[in-house]
Amino acid sequence: MLRHLRFTVLAAFFAGSAVLAEDAGDVTRGEAIFRQCASCHQVGAGAKNRIGPQLNGVFGRQAGSLDDFPYSEGLVRAGVDGITWDLETLDVYLENPKSLVSKTRMNFRGLADPQDRADVIAYLRSFSASPANIPEAMPTAQGTDHDIDPAILAIVGDPEYGAYLAGECTTCHQADGGADGIPSITQWPAEDFVVAMHAYKRKLRTHPVMQMMAGRLSDEEIAALAAYFKDLE
């Protein structure tokens, strides 16, 4: 019954959606727009799961179905309920992720402009056509604030200390990975966590609360938090 209802709602959603993305998107422009996705998602040759899943071959893939990525329950359920990524579903999801999958951990405001969505979808489709991937087409996508000392990345964090320090985080960031208004920070690859925290610490990322919180954490403390949160279920 519930499943049937979801389908109905979804169908109504598509039918009522005033503007669908244009079919013919601009791949070059889509690549530029994708930069805002790249702090969490990789696509292209050698793309790996990071904070978000890698996006090679996303067209035609059931939502929440990569074996080696820890999806939110909401996204897995969406896939089981029948959502497969295609032009229509990606268009709705990218307009406002939480409108399609209410419990998704993807903390992204969405792309309001239908042309922006069309372009980024066209870009993604260039990694999904048959043959599935086009290795020579594009460089592997990278985050923008990734240039930190390898010695910092090499620090092995103490998860017990991380568990204590995490008390400061869980006042706002929900320990179960829930995200409403404040992003989820659980199950991030440790390296991404460290990179993000150092970007706040160096004030490359702009949020004032996070600049303040990260600003007084030592390199070891950031590593400890990364070690703790990466395995928090």
Binding site: I182, Q211, M212
Partner: protein
Amino acid sequence: MKMNRRSFLGTASAAGASLAAPMAFAAGHGVPHVVVVGGGPGGATVARYIAKDSKGQIAVTLIEPTRAYYTCFFSNLYLGGFRDIGSLAHSYGNLAAEGINVVHDWAVDVDRDAKAVALAGGGSVPYDKLILSPGIDFVDGAVEGWNLSAQNAMPHAYKAGSQTELLRAQILAMPQGGTFAMVAPPNPFRCPPGPYERISMVAHLLKKENPTAKILIADPKESFSKQGLFEEGWNTHYAGMIERVGPDFGGANVSVDPDAMTISIDGDVNKVDVCNVIPAMKAGRIAQIAGVTEGNWAPVNAADMSSKMDADIYVLGDASHQGDMPKSGFSANSQAKVCANAVRGALTGSTVFPAKFSNTCWSLIDTNNGVKVGATYEATAEKIAKVDGFVSSTGESDALRKATYEESVGWYAGITADMFG
């Protein structure tokens, strides 16, 4: 479920333990016993973190009279119509399920020699470590003409729940063009931006329901938290509606007459329709009964929140006198984690990590118009001392104000999950 004798006995003794709750854990019984008085942001958090992290090595009892806790934070948003009252209510069911012995009763006495807390319902609970997180009570006679028996005529609404509902009902019943008055409290008090966020929310409600109504504030303080931000917001969104009388014009010289519904400011008597009296505050009474207060508050050591009067008693949140942190739910939650870590270390020898504290207070001025102030703190020999801080700016973009409000909604979900599981 198939019953056999062993499982039946097991069930029976578990049930017996929870029914006989207060006396079940005798001190010196092997498992050390922590008793927490007060189930708000300080008490619920410290109970939960000690129980969760000690993994059965410490027995935790939480004494809290109410079965549903209404958060003070976000209660102003209920007044403004942005939340319903039910969304502020939280039960202690998850804490009980996580192994905390939740006792719904009043703690009425503390025997520091025998190390036991007496309950209003009879019996007492022994402790190895006692954590008091009782919040605030009001100073008797702080506002001439007002006492607790007048709180229906002139609500304080500074402990959330029925008082908050009463205040909203009174605002909605105001005659067109009527006057809402607030007697603001002197420092220090719970939630420094609270009275001024409340003014914003009342103004938001009145602008919609009663646009010719007026708001009058009698304030004994020269200045207040986020003043520039609030005054900018009031001028922009509620122009001509709000008048604040500061101490220069007698805002500290106030008396009220709840029968006549009048408020006198420096001898000038005003007839009003709603009067929100927020009196001067002091530590919740059990802290005074326990003999750990000095003046109105309970002095604590910054490193672990232990009382300066008794090494086996800790005081969290609004009731404590700790230094630079504001009295807020966020602060109490932050202090609770430092305290939980220290208490576990003292009782089980677990690693005690250095104290780190933080606070952020969000306030809503109008729809999608949020502002915030926050700081980080460290423990010094004398006090909890501020390290770094920030505050929203005047003239911020609408998009940033909206994002700040959405962040506050996320924070509410985060901290209540952190407190109540």
